[in-house]
């Protein structure tokens, strides 16, 4: 049983936010939706959980009691303590008494939030708050976990801890659909969906996405086409659609290079 969206189109007025987008996630797998700001990542995730009405296409998702959702916002109630937030989320999903207490303690331990249990969520660091949001979404061990940019604005250590929680959830059988702007962490997902301007540019595992780029990426001192170049550390990379390696030294593009180059190619109508 897979979950996701098939040929989904979402329009906000005259703007098409998603254009015939298909994404599927199997139980036990992590699917990462990547793309820049405004690519349609959040809209896709919100459509899957039923927060956005789709204009056409099909959403395949379990009922609300079987979905765990972490929105792009805080994901927890600032005025409640960590424990109170978890108790609320667990209570909503039908966890009561000893079962709720056991689950709460297990989640607090796994998310390393035990020492912060009595702190209001509003007083947590960004990383701790996202971890709390994740534990609330996962409190009822849902078959489908939808996480909207769970690690955005989170320090590297907390990101690592969050990903450990995500992979643990997938290992226990949950289908995890998440969005991220961090391509290094997206590489950990079994399947990637690259979105740009509401369209799927390419999808597949990391190797498939890396291999999907038409043309080459070269390292240049001075870019020949500024709009096709981007800075990587101390050097600039440039996308060469026709694969002309004379423009610079060919580099083996990583996921970030490929996603940027695919976005450029997509906007130039080459995809």
């Amino acid at each position: 049983m897979s979950y996701g969206a098939r040929d989904v189109t979402v329009r906000f007025g005259s703007m098409t936010a998603l254009d015939s987008v298909t994404v599927e996630v199997e139980p036990g797998a992590v699917v990462a939706v990547v793309g820049g700001d405004g690519a349609g990542k959040s809209t896709l995730l919100r459509a899957v959980v039923g927060e956005v009405r789709v204009d056409s296409g099909t959403i395949s998702a379990p009922g609300p009691s079987s979905i765990g959702y972490l929105p792009a916002g805080a994901g927890s109630w600032g005025g409640l303590t960590v424990t109170q937030n978890l108790d609320f989320a667990g209570g909503v999903y039908g966890l009561v008494g000893e079962r709720l207490a056991d689950r709460r303690e297990a989640l607090l331990h796994r998310a390393a939030l035990e020492d912060a249990r009595d702190r209001p969520a509003s007083q947590l660091s960004g990383g701790m708050r996202r971890k709390l949001g994740f534990t609330m979404a996962a409190a009822h061990e849902p078959p489908l976990l939808v996480l909207d940019e769970p690690s955005t604005g989170v320090d590297p250590v907390s990101r690592m801890e969050l990903w450990r929680l995500v992979t643990e959830a997938a290992a226990s059988g949950a289908a995890v659909l998440l969005s991220t702007t961090y391509l290094d962490e997206a590489e950990r997902a079994a399947h990637l969906v690259v979105l740009d301007q509401g369209r799927v540019l390419v999808e597949g595992d990391v190797d498939a996405v890396l291999a999907s780029l038409p043309g080459t990426v070269v390292e240049v001192g001075t870019p020949t086409r500024l709009e096709r170049s981007w800075r990587r550390g101390r050097v600039r990379h440039e996308y060469v659609p026709d694969g002309d390696a004379t423009a610079g030294a060919t580099v083996r593009p990583d996921l970030e290079d490929v996603v940027i180059a695919l976005s450029i190619a997509g906007r130039e109508g080459a995809l």
Partner: protein, 349 residues
């Protein structure tokens, strides 16, 4: 500085609500203070009872709008008419001098009536009922109870809901397996309880500090307050559905609160307002709650005599609350409900 001014104008151009408020507020205040800010009551409703009722009714100046002439009735009947708020003054003939019973709960009309009757000297004996000293606080406290309920119901509730929207937690609630009606009821029940506690505190304090009487049934009062609370909570929910930020919610709530303060009869008597603005007062829920609270507390009015304000408030409660909750439901997880409508029974989409 030029850049700052330009930036401010550009922001204002997009903030249509603030611009509307800048235009509407002065107009509203001008109209209200121009037409409604009037303490002088030019005409009062009067009843004349007793054996010489018909003759006296003929002799009364036009200031007294005689709506009831009952030769067969007596002082008790006259009091009943006042208690039921059918008239502002009742003349009882058959005694010498004629007895004029004045409804003190209608403060400005009563002051005007007393001033008018004092000119008649010994011909009329004046007796003020329900508020013998014509104390302002006796009339204001029951109205202020309604104002406090309006404040909590409209402003606090809308802020509470909009804050969820701003924090993104409303989106989270929408995805959780909670029915939209449960979200709404769960959100407003605490405010309902807090407003009820506030109401009791204000009522008791008003009685202790200002000696305001409570002559009627607490149950009738509580029922009126409960229905009124549903109206104002509904307004709060409605405001939250049309506001994206706390600031917008406060702005709109005050825009709704101001006419209630000025046009509900709480400060300026409805009878003294120009007909053009008086009808606005009759569209406001606080007008009817004030009728109930003043009626029950001061006149000891029965449920039957307050049937009209109860009926109007009930209709308002149903319309406003249902309308607001339907709007709120529409905002919650529209995709999920659309999918449910499309999905065959027994499947999850």
């Amino acid at each position: 500085m030029k850049a700052m001014i330009l930036k401010e104008f550009r922001e204002l151009r997009r903030d249509r609500r603030t611009v509307a408020m800048l235009v509407v507020m002065p107009l509203l205040l001008l109209v209200i203070f121009g037409y409604a800010a009037n303490f002088y009551v030019s005409s009062v409703k009067a009843a004349v009872v007793g054996p010489q009722a018909a003759q006296l009714a003929e002799q009364l100046p036009p200031y007294f709008d005689v709506t009831e002439v009952a030769p067969g009735s007596d002082e008790a009947g006259a009091e009943q008419l006042l208690q039921d708020n059918q008239v502002d003054v009742a003349f009882v003939t058959g005694t010498d001098p004629v007895l004029a019973l004045v409804d003190g709960s209608n403060l400005f009309a009563a002051q005007s009536i007393v001033a008018s009757l004092n000119k008649l000297g010994d011909q009329v004996s004046v007796q003020i009922l329900y508020n013998p000293e014509l104390t302002t606080s006796w009339v204001m406290v029951p109205a202020i109870i309604g104002l406090i309920l309006t404040f909590i119901g409209t402003i606090i509730t809308s802020i509470g809901l909009v804050r969820e929207r701003e924090a993104g937690t409303l989106e989270q609630l929408a995805v959780m397996p909670i029915r939209p009606s449960a979200v709404i009821l769960g959100k407003i029940t605490p405010y309902f309880i807090l407003a009820s506690i506030d109401m009791v505190i204000i009522t008791v304090l008003g009685m202790l500090l200002f000696d305001v009487p409570f002559n009627g049934s607490p149950w009738v009062f509580a029922l009126g307050a409960a229905i009124f609370l549903f109206v104002v909570l509904g307004l709060g929910v409605f405001i939250s559905t049309v506001s994206q930020t706390t600031g917008q919610a406060i702005q709109l709530a005050f825009l709704m609160l101001l006419p209630q303060i000025l046009l509900s009869g709480m400060i300026f008597p409805l009878d003294a307002m120009a007909a053009g603005v008086r009808w606005i007062g009759y569209l406001l829920p606080l007008t009817y709650f004030t009728m109930i609270s003043q009626g029950v507390m001061l006149r000891g009015a029965s449920f039957e005599s307050l049937a009209l304000p109860f009926a109007v408030l009930s209709v308002m409660a149903v319309v406003v609350f249902l309308g607001a909750t339907l709007r709120f439901r529409r905002d919650l997880a529209p995709g999920r409900r659309a999918a449910r409508r499309r999905a065959p029974a027994g499947t999850e989409a």
